[in-house]
Symmetry: C2
Subunit: 318 residues, 2 copies
Amino acid sequence: MGGQRRGTREGQEITIVEVGPRDGLQHEPITVSTEAKVAFVNTLSRSGVAEIEVGSFVSPRAVPQLADTDEVFSRIDRLPGVRYSALVPNERGWARAREVGVEKIALFTAASETFAKRNINCTIGESLARFTPVVSAAKQDGVIVRGYVSTITHCPFEGPVPPSKVLDVAGRLLDLGVDEISLGETMGMAVPRDIRRLLDHVVRAIPVTVLSLHLHDTYGLGVANVLVAWEEYGLCSFDASAGGLGGCPFAPGAAGNVATEDVVYALRASGATVAVDDTMVVQAATQIEGVLDHPLTSRVSKVLRQKAKSAVHGQTGP
Amino acid sequence: MGGQRRGTREGQEITIVEVGPRDGLQHEPITVSTEAKVAFVNTLSRSGVAEIEVGSFVSPRAVPQLADTDEVFSRIDRLPGVRYSALVPNERGWARAREVGVEKIALFTAASETFAKRNINCTIGESLARFTPVVSAAKQDGVIVRGYVSTITHCPFEGPVPPSKVLDVAGRLLDLGVDEISLGETMGMAVPRDIRRLLDHVVRAIPVTVLSLHLHDTYGLGVANVLVAWEEYGLCSFDASAGGLGGCPFAPGAAGNVATEDVVYALRASGATVAVDDTMVVQAATQIEGVLDHPLTSRVSKVLRQKAKSAVHGQTGP
């Protein structure tokens, strides 16, 4: 059980893929202005995250919140050393991405047929066929391609998802030529043993270096799963969103991404090297929170915001 | 590293010690009425938790919020199968506890001298001396005694705390005759490797069956640490508070206890047997939240409260 034993990871460098501007915002009921999105991305750019998923070139009808991704891309300050990526569902999306000079695109499919059907309105096979010309065009342009496999452990419609399905879809994406796979735990229901069961299977066939783990914190397991993936399997790339942004208030299955600052704290305190300034991440989260209609509830952001107001305790017990 | 390997725990029964009415409420700035406390405890009683820490017989000056513990005790419905306990700092506290027929008391000291000094205004040695007559009187009355050791990994004043200090204090408490030890991670800063370092040391000398783990979720590590303690060491008793209640809004070091419903979900989904009805815990949390000035932010309570309003997703990506 488990990959390599932990204890050998001290100092290992972690890659944080900040998905707040895309996965974090896409369900938000309040329309966030282009200006606020640009400011959010610009603050995140200065935090030290390796990559920022800026938006999505899906149909504006499907995700109205991200309809201005083209404009956001053209207005952000792209800092050297930070990668700016976007979701691309098909050739039309790729044309839009190319227009604004996106250097990395992300394709998304699922390990569950029903979820693929409901989320992207096609079978998994059809999604892969649709990706084929996009990957080949992107590669010709020197654009990096990420493939998302969602519902890696649980599907809202099918229930538990077998690891073999995940490996199958991930393998087919790699066969198409994608550079990396992000394993998306869409429901946020997985516990470490689910992640172990999945990774035990996946890392047999796919090098851990091309894997990212994309977790939601729905049931509060995000950080626990990050630590298991890193400590036991040496997985070093994690998707996360500033402030734990994300979460559709009316759809419990899609609650917030695991918070970037929580992931940074947990990994760094566990001995990893994480070149991310968590106070800057929290600054970005606070900025975007100001235009939303609900507070962000990441643990570390709460601590960092409160630290200034810290007071001394009296006699209270443990 | 680690105790027994995980994978052998399937079905193991977990004891939840609900500390919301005591540790959860003690820092709340708004005075909660006796009636609200009684109602809170009564709802928790029906949730299946093994024990409820109802209050504290410390000086009302030190913790005004819990000044009515005597009255709360006399008014709650004590259900068979549930243990109702309270903090007792000294003989005066013990006299009050005895008066209302408390069946289990908890003494509290620390692994850090500075924390003991600031929190209970005496040295660790003095605290143990103060406990001696209380333990002996309690045992004569057939009352169960818990000993809290706080600051088990980090002290707000001294920084990291060596496991040997924790074992020393825990051992001295057991020598006094206490029945169980609750290891309190006061700061909520520990990551699994800190918990492993501690338990590697402690379980060499103390049977895991007399240990509880008392975690705060300050940095979002509560659930990760619970799972490590159970999966790797077989620790089966956890302190937790409904809704993640607790947390002094102005003192980041004392943020909320790990939420009972989050612990219940994580352990049950990991294969443990947890005889707690999480919807009843969330009902209790919602009840007490109604009289506080801030929302409770446990992950699972959010899910359970939203479930009724669940809606279907559109095409959104992973």
